[in-house]
Symmetry: C2
Subunit: 264 residues, 2 copies
């Protein structure tokens, strides 16, 4: 059977999400994409399409979905409606990457104040992943040829999921939540063809890093990130995405594992 | 200086929360309480007061606060208003126990459906702790005699915070989030007189266990809990609370640690 890949990627319009799509495209497999982001527009979609096709003419973007991951009723409705449109029968690999996330407030816990916004950020970073993962699992477990397809659920994690950092509380907590969710899904699904992966991509040279250098109010932490940028020590997002794509296609990782870009 | 303790306890009207208050009372110190619960009424307050005073006549219940921990605007307002009323200057120990929590839905991730309710449960289990902890820290760090008081922030955790279990996804994730928050607060506050503790009390014979035996939809998991109850292997909540109170007053634990009732 010819390899045919379906990749669903959230937060796909820029940064690491876009790099993931590019690296998937470079594998030269037949690959269909479903892309989710907060604000796609025609221009952006056209740009991404020609970008991905430049790496691989066999790339198809099946759907692009504008979605606000902090509004749970919308996440459920839009994601379910998308799943209803997709026929997964003809794929050899289906990969679902939950990449979206918010830095939220970078400050010491004692300085937090905008709790309404923080609540919304936490919902985006945690509950939305519960919803998308649950609906996705329900869909694939109902397929008559479930056993014939190799499924990967990837959570874009962080070192913050397993290690606390000063002024990174909200972000760390959200990532710890997500890692545990994917560990739970792993123990609930001991199938050879369904694996979850918590992938920590390393500190990458993306817009998010720019946001960190601008928003972080904790002097020493902020300086660490400024030094990383100035010292050229930030990871190229495509290099990290290429490692993720290799992990997914090798399919040798232990389901539920937390793997880091810097792991050997 | 005579020891004088202030204990703030959430989810204090029953179960482990009430056991914590009882065991604090049994230490025979001068102890003032502030109790939070979803639904206090006069009868319940009177019963708790006479219960605690029966262990220790030096017990005072300063305030009882009805609070819905799933409504963040309410949590912020009520908790801040409570903190504004309290003068902490005269205490030797101030202990804040975030004990409240919801089991939420006990089911496999693929079977989850009531996402509106799950969102609310996750807010209660996660964001509310961010708010109460943040406001509490801001208050105590502003005290002129901060250094003279010993502060403990206790998160009632669970084995679920560090180990996934089938059909316990939402609960596990919330506990993982909380553990990470208290690790973050620990690294942000390297003071000898301010420690956080993630305490896993063990499977206790409380109303929550009854709820588990009734609500759990995953057969094998449900059976484990039925067997624990029938085999008399559930932990007495007062035995577990006594261990927590000893940990807090010995004050030898490493800040940010996850300690379990079953640890030696």
């Amino acid at each position: 059977m010819t390899e045919k890949v379906l990749a669903l990627v959230t937060g796909a319009s820029r940064g690491f999400g876009l790099s993931i799509c590019e690296e998937f495209s470079k594998t030269n497999k037949n690959i269909d994409f479903v892309l989710f982001a907060f604000s796609f527009n025609d221009e952006k979609i056209q740009k991404i399409t020609s970008d991905l096709k430049s790496f691989n003419p066999n790339v198809n973007i099946l759907h692009v979905v504008n979605i606000d991951m902090s509004v749970i009723s919308q996440v459920e409705k839009e994601f379910q409606s998308l799943l209803d449109k997709i026929n997964m029968d003809n794929y050899t690999d289906v990969v679902f990457v939950n990449n979206h996330g918010s830095l939220s407030t970078l400050d010491l816990v004692e300085n937090l104040s905008e709790f309404k916004q923080i609540e919304s950020d936490i919902t985006l970073n945690t509950t939305s992943i519960v919803v998308t993962s649950s609906l996705f699992l329900r869909k694939i477990k109902s397929l008559t040829n479930f056993k014939d397809i190799r499924f990967s659920l990837v959570n874009v994690s962080s070192l913050c999921a397993i290690k606390p950092f000063q002024s990174w509380g909200i972000y760390c907590c959200g990532k710890a939540f997500r890692d545990m969710l994917y560990q739970n899904i792993a123990v609930e699904n001991p199938f050879e063809n369904l694996k979850t992966l918590n992938y920590a991509p390393g500190p990458m040279d993306t817009d998010m890093q720019k946001e960190i250098r601008e928003k972080c109010t904790h002097g020493p932490t902020k300086q660490v990130f400024i030094d990383m940028k100035e010292g050229g020590r930030l990871v190229n997002p495509n290099t990290s995405a290429a490692k993720l794509v290799k992990l997914v296609f090798d399919y040798k990782f232990t389901s539920g594992a937390h793997l880091d870009f810097f792991d050997q």
